[in-house]
Amino acid sequence: MNDLYRKEQQIEKEQFQEIVTTLTFPMNHISPYFKLWIGFLLSLIGTAAVMYVRQLRYGLGTTDMRDIASWGLYFSDFVFLIAVSLVGSLITAILRLSNIKWATPLTRISEIIAVTALLSALAIIVVDMGRPDRLWHIFIYGRLQSPIVWDIIVVITYLVISLLLLYLPLIPDIALLQKKMGHKPGWQQRMYKILSLGWQGTKDQFKILNFSLTVLMVLIIPMAFSIHTVTSWLFASTLRPGWDSTIFGPYFVAGAFMVGAASVIVTMYFIRMQYKFEEYITDEHFNMMGKLLVLTSLVYLYFNLNEFMVPAYKMKSGESANIRGLLVGDYALMFWLVQILGMIVPILLMVFKLFRKPKPLLVISVFIVIGAFFKRYLIVTPTLLHPFLPIQNYPASYHHYSPTWSECTIVIGSIAAIALLISLFIKLFPIIPIWETAHEKGISNETINNS
């Protein structure tokens, strides 16, 4: 009897070893392509930094924003990044709390996207400020009546919760890494030691960990809803046509879930491909994420119909100029491309299983993410270019907005920063949770702790 038990133990141990070896593969191999990739990202971020220094010197006039179009690409990027960051709560919290197990390998991917997107969003909003040297004014002189103050409070709160949600499930994995990463440089080993909090895998520790995770997951769902609702109130609290809408909150949240799911698909495809994680991120995962994407896209389509058909029906003065501009005027090309290629066609295609295979789904998700960025731009700038009173006594360029190279490089830099942070994270921590995956496969805590 003992022999059989020991044999079972041995098999479990070997299984666990395999999981560990595969999932720590990215941390142990740095290919030359990776170095090229990091170099490329650093060059993009470097260019962005140079452009920002130039902007600090000359003022925000280096952008194409002027008195009429006073918010442009930076603000669109901010809204887009806040939208992407909602995915953390979707995958980690909502799916996990509903005991949906297939999402387990994707939780850390979505959390790291969420955290890095939030950090980049905070950076880009500071770039959009006219006086970034006075950032501290918000904390000392802040007015609780202002939607911007609400946004800052909610974003920081959500960031802290997301960091905790990233860190807590990481603790058992770090404890494991402590034992396995003896060949890594000293600073890295010390980092693992400090962050592992002396994790032993005891029942008590697991109890505390699981309860804390539950608290965070329950907390993050309303926080995620409020972060994008409050961001939408930056527009809905004004009187402008196109923004003066009562459903902006749910409209933005629905869009956020859609673009978040799409960005997870894009990221998981590249991670799977690069590190050969086919066993952990299976075709079935793509299938399920595809179904999730269809669901969220349908909800977003519903809100889009409400947002555009209702004002178009009435053609109220003020609203009419903006709607006309979007549907048939200056912005019609971008609008219809975004709606059709970025939402409607993806929905139609993803209904079929064929298009929920990894490669087609990747292409569709890329279209959705790019479409989402331009959708945010269509929300921000056309409204500003259709004010209530006529635009007179300004230079001709004030009647339209075409972003300068300076703005574009800084926005590209913000995306590159996210890619950089995620790439570095993959090299330092397992991107697919080891202990949770082992738990799913039925490996006991004893084996994990004693390996």
Binding site: Y141, G142, R143, L144, Q145, W150, I153, T157, V160, I161, L164, L168, I171, L197, G198, W199, Q200, T202, D204, Q205, I208, L209, F211, S212, V215, L216, L219, M223
Partner: protein
């Protein structure tokens, strides 16, 4: 048939001269005579130059013409305009000037609708006097006394000569004003002439707002009268309606108030949510310490 051959040089000269001519015409268009119909030129000014109507003319001029033509009528107003004391202008007949004022041209608005004929003739008389001040005899000094009646709120002005004789003066134009924040609001008529007793009375109108207790400052003036030098007198009475400063909207808590005036419901809601959420966050952070402690107990 011989064709008229204009050499290229010739064409060029013709073109240049046309352009120059057009330029000259454009420049001189400002100086092109303003055509006045003959019957209007010969219209006669019914008012002879007398202090009373010259004074009226001066009043009207300061209200309606100074902005463009300047206080000295020399064309140096808030915008540049014609000088009304220049020889070329003064050479015109009264009728011509009358026509120009009533009809207007370009930047000069027509005054046909805003001024009565008599008033326009008075302004013309004033313009004549401006270059010929000897037409009017030197002004005398006067004294002005105010008395007020309280059953019916009224102000009476008594004008008399400033010398020892203290003669009451009649037909003196007196102006009555209430002092306001940025100017003087006139009460009574535009011109209030003293009677044979040297007095003229004006009733104080209702609905004039005073300060917080209803005090108003009344100013009575003899001004712009050619026969008499300026004189004024002031009196304060509690005849106005007390000023109601409805600034309760400012002192209340509101969404547009400053940071210490935010609405109570917002304070409770926002701080409540922040406290609850961050309480949970701190609890989780505390749990991190508990995890560490639990691990230590195990190793010991």
């Amino acid at each position: 048939m011989k064709q008229l051959i204009i050499p290229d040089m010739g064409k060029f000269i013709i073109l240049v001269s046309i352009i120059l001519l057009a330029g000259c015409l454009n420049t001189f268009s400002q100086l092109i005579a303003w055509q006045v119909p003959a019957e209007m030129v010969n219209k006669i000014n019914p008012l002879s130059i007398e202090p009373k109507n010259v004074a009226m003319g001066r009043n009207i001029f300061s209200r309606s013409c100074v902005a463009c033509h300047g206080a000295k009528a020399d064309g140096q107003g808030l915008i540049k305009s014609a000088s009304l004391i220049a020889k070329e202008f003064q050479k015109q007949a009264d009728g011509t000037i009358f026509y120009k004022i009533t009809t207007g041209r370009d930047k000069m608005p027509p005054f046909k609708a805003t001024l009565k004929d008599d008033e326009i003739w008075a302004v013309i008389n004033y313009l004549r006097v401006l270059i010929n001040p000897s037409a009017i005899p030197p002004a005398k000094n006067v004294k002005l006394e105010i008395s007020t009646g309280d059953e019916i709120k009224s102000v009476t002005a008594f004008v008399y000569s400033a010398d020892s004789a203290k003669l009451p003066l009649q037909e003196v134009d007196v102006h009555f004003y209430v002092k306001r924040d940025f100017g003087l609001m006139s009460i009574g008529e535009l011109s209030n002439y003293t009677g044979t007793d040297g007095k003229v009375k004006v009733i104080f109108p209702d609905n004039i707002i005073g300060d917080a207790e209803g005090y108003v400052s009344l100013l009575v003036k003899v001004e712009n009268d050619f026969l008499y030098n300026n004189a004024e007198s002031e009196v304060i009475r509690q005849w106005g309606e007390p000023m109601i400063m409805e600034d309760k909207y400012f002192n209340q808590r509101s969404l547009w108030g400053s940071r210490n005036k935010s609405p109570v419901w917002l304070l409770l809601l926002a701080n409540g949510i922040i406290a609850a959420v961050w309480g949970a966050i701190f609890y989780v952070a505390y749990n991190l310490f508990r995890i560490k402690k639990a691990g230590k107990i195990f190793t010991k």
